[in-house]
Every structure is written in structure tokens, then in C-alpha cells.
């Protein structure tokens, strides 16, 4: 049963069409991560959901309530939508104590004081900030302020909370910790969380489902982490989530060969029959899906070998193309490392094929 629905939402800023017929559904109690490069329109979408921006067309539903409909002329004002929000810069009010910050949504709803006190204490316990109840934000660290923002969002609504890049301003270690805490909190409370970020790693770690937006504001894929990683629908998704290598395949005499610029090389993997329609194909392979195989007909020369700790990274030249290869430490200790300048054979595991060049093709 979908809990939040965007239906054909469009939004323009002057001549700039940021969202066009955008549709997405969130299930109740899930963490949905919306990922996309900076400026793709995800924050705009969130602001439309909250009522801070007004779409030109479309409909938005939260639960059974329609909060926006262009054709029915419905536009519930922001202060009545009851959606919790955690901003990137926390937006914790510096002149109010932690307690006053968190109690604000309840004050606005004219909840009686003893009830407010009780609920504030409860939510502070959940975010582990009970002893800071009377502190001012200036006395708190970034991570602590973030927790206050989360608590305040939960006070506004424990059904739906939106988080817009909440951990970007924290240092690496704290980021990991906060992701863990957000996940735990969500499991305990069952809140539906709509998490917006450009950081695909955070999205993969956090999301039950992940929605990917391209720079033009189009939704290109929605799925689980496994779907996104192992079955990327388009070239954009494949390239967005992590480092990739791309080679061009040309069909010559019924066989696919790799276009290396000045030469053609044999393609050691099997192109699945259902894709063997194009004369030219783009194939993408992840660095850790390329392995050294002395028996492979595809050859290259190791230009650079870099030790990165948990893996070795190689830059291998084949014709005019440069390929990036990662070898795990375990593999390196079993099979040895490739030396700079040596000639190697390469094999390609789990390649992703796409129609060539201009547009990303569908599978």
C-alpha cells in the first residue's frame, strides 16, 4: 500500500524545467533513498512535498490526504502538512534550548504542557540526548545538533520524516555512526523515511529501496540495493553508482570485437543472444570485475600499480584505451600482483551491455 505518492509532478523555475511528470511511490514503514547528482531536482521535489515550493502540475498524496493537486486546485499550506523534515544544515534554532526546539511543533498544535513534556522526554531518550535537554545548540556538536533535528522532525510526525542530506556536514566516522543510528531508529519506530542524498554509498547502506534520478530530473530506476548494483537499468545508473570502465564493441563477421582505437581486440566474454541486435554496443565493467587471466586473448600492459591497502589498483593500457582494475588483497596474496610494465591477459566478469553512444538504452 503506497503511503506517499508523487503523480506527474512538474516544476519550473523561470525557463528551467526542473521536474517534468515525475512519479514515485513510497511504501509505508520503508526507508526510501532518493539519489541523484547535485542540482538534479531532488531537493525541489522534497520542497514540493513539504509545501515550500508549488508545482506547476501534478498531484501529491500523503496517506489518504491529497496535499497538492493542480487540477483540483488543492494546495495545503506547509504549516498544515505535518511532515517532519531534517535539513542539511540541521536548522536547529540557536536561541531556543533543545527542549524548546523539540517541543515547538507540539506547541503549535496547542498540545497541553504536561503532554508536551512527556513526549519530549520520550523522544530525547530515543535519540540518546536526554542529558542535553536544557542545552543550547551552540553547546552541542554537529552530530548532537543533528539528533535534535531528528527528534524535532519526529515530533512533527512519526509517520513520515524527510531527510535532506542530513549527514553531509559531518566527518566520515560520525557519518557512519549516524547512518547506523538512523536505521536503528527507523526500525524501532516504523516511521516512513524519505532520504535524499547525492552520496550513493549512504543510500546503499541505508535504503530499503533506492530511487535514482538523473541530472535532467528523470527517475531512471527504483529498486533494492541488489537491483541497482547487479542490474543497473541504464548506463547512467551504472556510472553513477561507483567507478566504471566502458568499452565499445563492434560487430565484425558475426563476432563482437573491442574497439581499442587503432586496433580491434577479441572480446573474451559472451554477449547474451537477446542483445545481439546492435552493430555497436557499449559494455561496462566494474574495476573489481576484471581479473587477470593469462589464458585470455584480451591483452594489455600494466602502466601503474598502486597499493591501496584492502586492494591493489591497476591502470592497464589496451590499445588506446585505459582500464582500471581492482584486485582484492586476498586475491593478491593467493595469485600474486601484477608488476608495472608487465603484459597481462584480462577476463571480464559480469559485464553490463548497453546500446551504443547517444542515449542510455533499456534492457
Amino acid at each position: 500500500m503506497s503511503y506517499v505518492r508523487f503523480e506527474n509532478v512538474s516544476f519550473a523555475y523561470g525557463d528551467n524545467q526542473i521536474l517534468k511528470n515525475f512519479s514515485l511511490a513510497l511504501e509505508k514503514n520503508e526507508i526510501m533513498c532518493l539519489v541523484g547528482p547535485s542540482g538534479c531536482g531532488k531537493t525541489t521535489l522534497v520542497r514540493c512535498l513539504l509545501g515550500l515550493n508549488r508545482p506547476s502540475e501534478g498531484e501529491i498524496y500523503v496517506g489518504d490526504t491529497c496535499v497538492f493537486s493542480s487540477k483540483r486546485r488543492i494546495n495545503v499550506p506547509a504549516e498544515r502538512r505535518r511532515i517532519g523534515i531534517v535539513f542539511q544544515d540541521y536548522a536547529v534554532w540557536p536561541h531556543l534550548t533543545v527542549k524548546e526546539n523539540i517541543a515547538y511543533p507540539l506547541r503549535k498544535r496547542k498540545v497541553p504542557k504536561p503532554e508536551i513534556d512527556r513526549r519530549v522526554e520520550e523522544v530525547l531518550r530515543l535519540v540518546r540526548m536526554s542529558e542535553y535537554i536544557n542545552h543550547l545548540p551552540s553547546q552541542l556538536s554537529g552530530g548532537q545538533q543533528q539528533r535534535v533535528a531528528i527528534a524535532r522532525a519526529l515530533m512533527t510526525s512519526d509517520d513520515l520524516v524527510v531527510m535532506d542530506e542530513p549527514i553531509t556536514n559531518l566527518d566520515a566516522k560520525l557519518r557512519e555512526q549516524m547512518l547506523y543510528e538512523i536505521r536503528e531508529l527507523q526500525h524501532n519506530m516504523g516511521t516512513t523515511v524519505f532520504y535524499i542524498t547525492h552520496d550513493q554509498r549512504a543510500a546503499l547502506q541505508l535504503g530499503d529501496r533506492i530511487a535514482i534520478m538523473d541530472p535532467q530530473g528523470e527517475l531512471v530506476q527504483v529498486g533494492s540495493d541488489e537491483d541497482i548494483i547487479l542490474r543497473p537499468r541504464t548506463r547512467f545508473v551504472f556510472e553513477f553508482i561507483g567507478v566504471t570502465n566502458f568499452l565499445a564493441l563492434k560487430r565484425v563477421d558475426g563476432q563482437y570485437r573491442v574497439d581499442l582505437g587503432s586496433t580491434l581486440a577479441p572480446w573474451p566474454a559472451q554477449v547474451p543472444p537477446e542483445l545481439q541486435n546492435g552493430a555497436v554496443l557499449d559494455v561496462g565493467i566494474r574495476p573489481n570485475d576484471i581479473v587477470f587471466d593469462s589464458s585470455s586473448p584480451f591483452r594489455g600492459v600494466v602502466r601503474r600499480a598502486v597499493f591501496l591497502g584492502s586492494e591493489y589498483e591497476y591502470f592497464v593500457q589496451a590499445g588506446d584505451k585505459s582500464l582500471r582494475i581492482q584486485q582484492g588483497a586476498l586475491d593478491a596474496s593467493l595469485n600474486g600482483i601484477a608488476a608495472e610494465g608487465s603484459e597481462v591477459g584480462l577476463n571480464f566478469l559480469n559485464p553490463q551491455y548497453y546500446e551504443a553512444a547517444r542515449e542510455e538504452g533499456a534492457r
Partner: protein, 573 residues
């Protein structure tokens, strides 16, 4: 974080149906008030300078501009301003270096002494120096003549150089502040990389540090230049007796001698055009220089800059610096208090001649008490009104961003670059009946002038404060259930309140002690404190003038301490 300059107008237009909301009212009000308070006086000056009885005519302008008195006044103005700028800059840079980069002792003490000139009106300082070094009757002069058997006074403060000296002792902190800040916050690796490259300390200062602080020096110097061009107080005290006029004092003289007649004011308007032209030229230079200048040399991380070891020169320089500061800052202050106590001007300043009679006299004279009352009323009201008006305009310009907000911005900062003398004339021309409203000889006309004059101060402080209130803070309140008005009341206002309070005092203090504007606008019952001190002096009652001056000083110190105490408690929160 995208869209920092997001149209927060969206915030207001969120209720499906557009209403005439708070925003539209504030915008309209801002435009109207600024038009009335700022644009009208300024247009009146231009009109009356170039139009006579409805006809365009350059006669007045040509007549005024070609007079010898005008030409000499203009040259004096420019000459003094340039000299003050040059020497003020040298002194400012010298101290900036000492305090910002060397290991000289007593930095805290000297910094404290620097804050004093900001507090006191330059005309009081001029008065004090006049008491000391007046060409004929100055106390120090007479003592020196007697002690060393001189036939004539060795120093004469009533000269162009005298005016330069007193002005620069009040203006050099402008350069000091800018340069010391640049020196302290400059990225030290800029100098360290020069040393690694092989340059010795001296080369580093000459080739790296100095060029990099030049923009700060220019910025401060231009500030001095513009301030001096428009300055009234010091030349009026030191120059009149010797017939030395600058444009601002010339304008005053023209109007005063005509007894405030319309013709006199018209002449004043014509001369104002000249003065504004000179100031505009300086402003244009400032724009050009500042646009090309600025280097990004300040780094976020707080790194301590390299300190130069003065070694042997440490103590001598300290003595020199401290003595100069004491002379410039404390000596005039002391003079005022001493002369306030003397029974009659000219008597030696020894305890035998001291009496409290002067204080008695000024406090019983109705004129004095009334002038203090007037100044307090004016400063309080100007402070409050300007602060509210300035905040509203700042909010409209920054957060509401209607069409034409740049016009609003310009209108609000325009008066800052118009000399106080000129503004006073504009206000007279606008509000003495020609437009239907006659405020002449009332406190109102002075109030209106003050509001116009100080509006840009509160605009700037409120703007800076509003900039700190990120839109997301208001938006967070909206999503928590607060309406637009509620979010303003609960979030924005409390956050800018400290700035508004500072803004108030930023206006209250200068208004209390100012004389430039009120000297042209006062009537028999609407003297301000500054004007009263002036009048007493004009009438030759030096001890009483000093007594009142000392009262003004005490008043200012008291208010300043309150402000500082308020700032401290706020920091502790």
C-alpha cells in the same frame, strides 16, 4: 546546499490563494517611507540649486562657484582631507604593525586607548586642543612662552595643520582597524613560503606582506578621505577665528550670516552641490580602487601569524607608541575636565582656582537642561524609529526580494555618502512649508534629519544579522506548523534582536553627541547638547562650555559601559 538565494517569497505565497499579506504591506511601506525621508530632501537640494522660481537656471551655481571664498573653501577642504588621509594612514599602519605583528608589550592597553576616539565627538577634541594651543590664549602656549621666554606662541592650532592634526587623531583608527585585521587574519603560509624560497624577514615584509595588505590600507585611507571631506566639527572650532573655511563650514557660515533666510539657504544648496560633487569623486575613486584590489588572503582556520621580534627596539617603540596615544587621546580629555573646573578662563590650572560653580551654572540655566533633554529625546526616538525602519527595509530587501529592491537598497544607503551639512539643508528645503508641512524650528525637523542620516547604519547591521538567519530556519518553523507571521515572530525576530539592540546604540550614541546637522536646524527652544556647547563657547563662556562638554563625555562613557555590559552578558548565554 543549493539555492542559497532561494526566493523566499515562496514562503509567503503558500496559501493557495494570494492574500495581501504582511510582505506586501512591508514592501509598500518601505518604498513610501524611504521616498519621503530620503529622496525628498535630496531632490529639493538639486531642485533649488538649479531652478529658480520654476525656471532652470545656472546663475546661482555659477555665482557661488566663482566666488573667492568658495574656491578657497574648496581647496582647503581638499587639502586638509588629503593631508589627513596621508598622515592618518601612516599613523594607522604604524600602529597596526606594532599591535598586529610585533611583540610589543601593552597591546591590550593600547587597543583600549584606541576605542576612545570613537566615543567622543571630534569637535570636543578640537575645543580641547584650542584651549591648549590657541594661537593667542592657549594654556600650553602661554606656559611655554613663560618658561622658555619666547616672544610668540610656538604652536598655533588655528591653522590648516592644526585642523589636520586634530582630525587625524580621530580618523587614524579607520586605517588601523582595517590593517590590523588583515595582518592578524592573513594566511601565514603566504609569508612562510617566501622564507622557504630564500627570502629574509625584511624581504618578506617588503615583497609579500605589504603588497597583500595594500587593499586594506586603501580601504581605510579612502574612508578617512571621505569622512574628512564632509567633516564639520573640527574646522568650525579651529578655523572660524582665522577665517579658514572648508566647504561644510562655508555652507554653515553662508546660512548663519543670512539669518536663515531663503536666499541664504539657496546659496547653501548651491554650495552643497559642489561639496557633494567632491565627495562623489572620492566615492568613485573608492569604488574603482576597491573593485580591483581585494586579495583573498584570509584563511578560515585560525593560525597564528608570524610575530616579528623587535629585540632592542621593543621598549623604545613601546614608549613612543604609548606616549603618542596618550597625547592624542587622553590629553584633550584631561583639558576639558580641568578647564571645566577653573573659575575663569585664563587663570592657571591649579587647585586654588578650581570651583564647581561652572557646573552649578550650567545645571541651573534652563538652556542646558533643555538641550540635554532635547538630545535625549531625539537620540532615543531616532534610535528606535531608525532601527525599526532599517530592519523592515533590510527584511524587505533580503528576504522578500520584490521587484525594485535594488532601488530600495540604494535609497537607504544614499544618505551615508551625503555630508550631514548637506542633508540638513535638504531637510530645511523639504520641510519648511514648501511641500505643505512646516517643521522648521521644531524638534521634528531634526528628528527627520537624524532618521535620514542614520538609516544606513541600521540597514547594515540588520542586513548582516538577517543574512545569518538562513532561510531553512524559517522554513523549519513552517514545517513544524507555524504560519509565516508566527515564524517571523518566533524565529527571525528573536535571532536579530541582538543586532537590533546594537543598531539602536549605533545610532543613539552618535546622535547624542552630533552637532553637524543640528547646528543648521536648531531653533530657540530646540537646541541639542552639541549645539548648546557650541553656543556657550561662541559666547566666550569657555569654562561653562567645557563643563557641559565634560557632562557630555560622562554621559557617553556611561551609555557605552551599559552597551558593553549588555554585549558581555549576551556572549555568556
Amino acid at each position: 546546499m543549493i539555492n542559497l538565494r532561494r526566493k523566499t517569497r515562496d514562503l509567503a505565497v503558500l496559501d493557495g490563494r494570494r492574500r495581501v499579506g504582511l510582505d506586501s504591506i512591508m514592501t509598500a511601506l518601505s518604498f513610501v517611507l524611504l521616498l519621503v525621508i530620503v529622496v525628498t530632501p535630496i531632490s529639493m537640494i538639486v531642485y533649488h540649486a538649479f531652478f529658480h522660481q520654476g525656471q532652470f537656471s545656472l546663475d546661482l551655481i555659477i555665482d557661488q562657484f566663482t566666488r573667492d571664498t568658495t574656491v578657497s573653501a574648496m581647496w582647503n577642504t581638499i587639502k586638509i582631507a588629503i593631508l589627513v588621509t596621508i598622515f592618518g594612514t601612516i599613523v594607522g599602519v604604524f600602529y597596526a604593525w606594532l599591535l598586529g605583528r610585533s611583540n610589543i608589550p601593552g597591546k591590550k592597553l593600547m587597543r583600549f586607548l584606541f576605542t576612545i576616539p570613537y566615543m567622543f565627538p571630534p569637535f570636543l577634541g578640537a575645543m580641547a586642543w584650542d584651549l591648549l594651543l590657541n594661537g593667542r590664549s592657549g594654556y600650553l602656549n602661554r606656559w611655554l612662552m613663560k618658561t622658555f621666554g619666547l616672544s610668540s606662541a610656538p604652536f598655533n592650532i588655528n591653522t590648516v595643520w592644526g585642523i589636520v592634526f586634530v582630525e587625524l587623531s580621530y580618523y587614524f583608527p579607520f586605517v588601523f582597524m582595517q590593517v590590523v585585521s588583515a595582518l592578524e587574519r592573513m594566511d601565514p603560509t603566504l609569508e612562510e613560503s617566501a622564507r622557504i624560497a630564500g627570502a629574509k624577514q625584511g624581504t618578506v615584509i617588503w615583497k609579500i606582506t605589504l603588497p597583500l595588505v595594500t587593499p586594506a590600507i586603501s580601504s581605510g585611507a579612502l574612508l578617512i578621505l571621505i569622512s574628512s571631506l564632509a567633516h564639520f566639527g573640527v574646522p568650525s572650532i579651529l578655523g572660524f577665528s582665522q577665517g579658514i573655511f572648508t566647504l561644510p563650514t562655508r555652507i554653515y557660515a553662508v546660512i548663519a550670516r543670512s539669518g536663515g533666510s531663503f536666499e541664504g539657504i539657496r546659496q547653501g544648496a548651491a554650495l552643497s552641490i559642489l561639496l557633494v560633487a567632491v565627495v562623489a569623486l572620492a566615492l568613485w575613486i573608492q569604488q574603482r580602487v576597491l573593485r580591483s584590489g581585494g586579495y583573498d588572503i584570509i584563511k578560515g582556520k585560525s593560525m597564528r601569524p608570524t610575530v616579528i621580534n623587535l629585540r632592542g627596539a621593543r621598549i623604545p617603540l613601546f614608549i613612543l607608541a604609548l606616549t603618542t596615544l596618550v597625547v592624542i587621546v587622553l590629553v584633550p580629555l584631561g583639558m576639558i575636565f580641568l578647564v571645566a573646573l577653573v573659575r575663569a578662563y585664563g587663570l592657571p590650572l591649579i587647585p586654588a582656582n578650581f570651583t564647581l560653580a561652572n557646573y552649578q551654572r550650567i545645571f541651573t540655566a534652563s538652556g542646558t537642561l533643555e538641550s540635554i533633554k532635547n538630545s535625549m529625546i531625539l537620540s532615543l526616538s531616532a534610535g528606535v524609529i531608525t532601527m525599526l525602519l532599517g530592519t523592515m527595509v533590510a527584511y524587505v530587501v533580503q528576504k522578500i526580494r520584490p521587484r525594485g529592491s535594488s532601488v530600495l537598497e540604494i535609497m537607504s544607503v544614499l544618505p551615508y555618502s551625503i555630508p550631514g551639512t548637506v542633508l540638513a539643508i535638504g531637510v530645511i528645503l523639504a520641510w519648511s512649508g514648501s511641500l505643505g508641512l512646516n517643521l522648521y524650528n521644531t524638534l521634528w525637523i531634526i528628528l527627520v534629519a537624524y532618521i535620514a542620516r542614520y538609516l544606513s547604519f541600521s540597514m547594515k547591521t540588520s542586513s548582516a544579522a538577517l543574512l545569518q538567519v538562513h532561510p531553512s530556519l524559517e522554513e523549519a518553523a513552517r514545517t513544524c506548523g507555524a504560519s509565516h507571521t508566527e515564524s517571523l515572530r518566533d524565529i527571525t525576530l528573536p535571532l536579530i534582536r541582538p543586532a537590533m539592540v546594537s543598531g539602536f546604540f549605533l545610532i543613539f550614541l552618535p546622535a547624542m553627541r552630533e552637532v553637524t546637522t543640528s547646528v543648521l536646524l536648531y531653533g530657540p527652544y530646540t537646541r541639542t547638547l552639541g549645539v548648546q556647547i557650541y553656543s556657550l563657547r561662541d559666547a566666550g563662556m569657555m569654562p561653562q562650555a567645557s563643563a557641559l562638554g565634560s557632562v557630555a563625555i560622562v554621559l557617553i562613557i556611561v551609555v557605552n559601559s551599559i552597551v558593553n555590559a549588555l554585549n558581555q552578558t549576551r556572549k555568556g548565554v
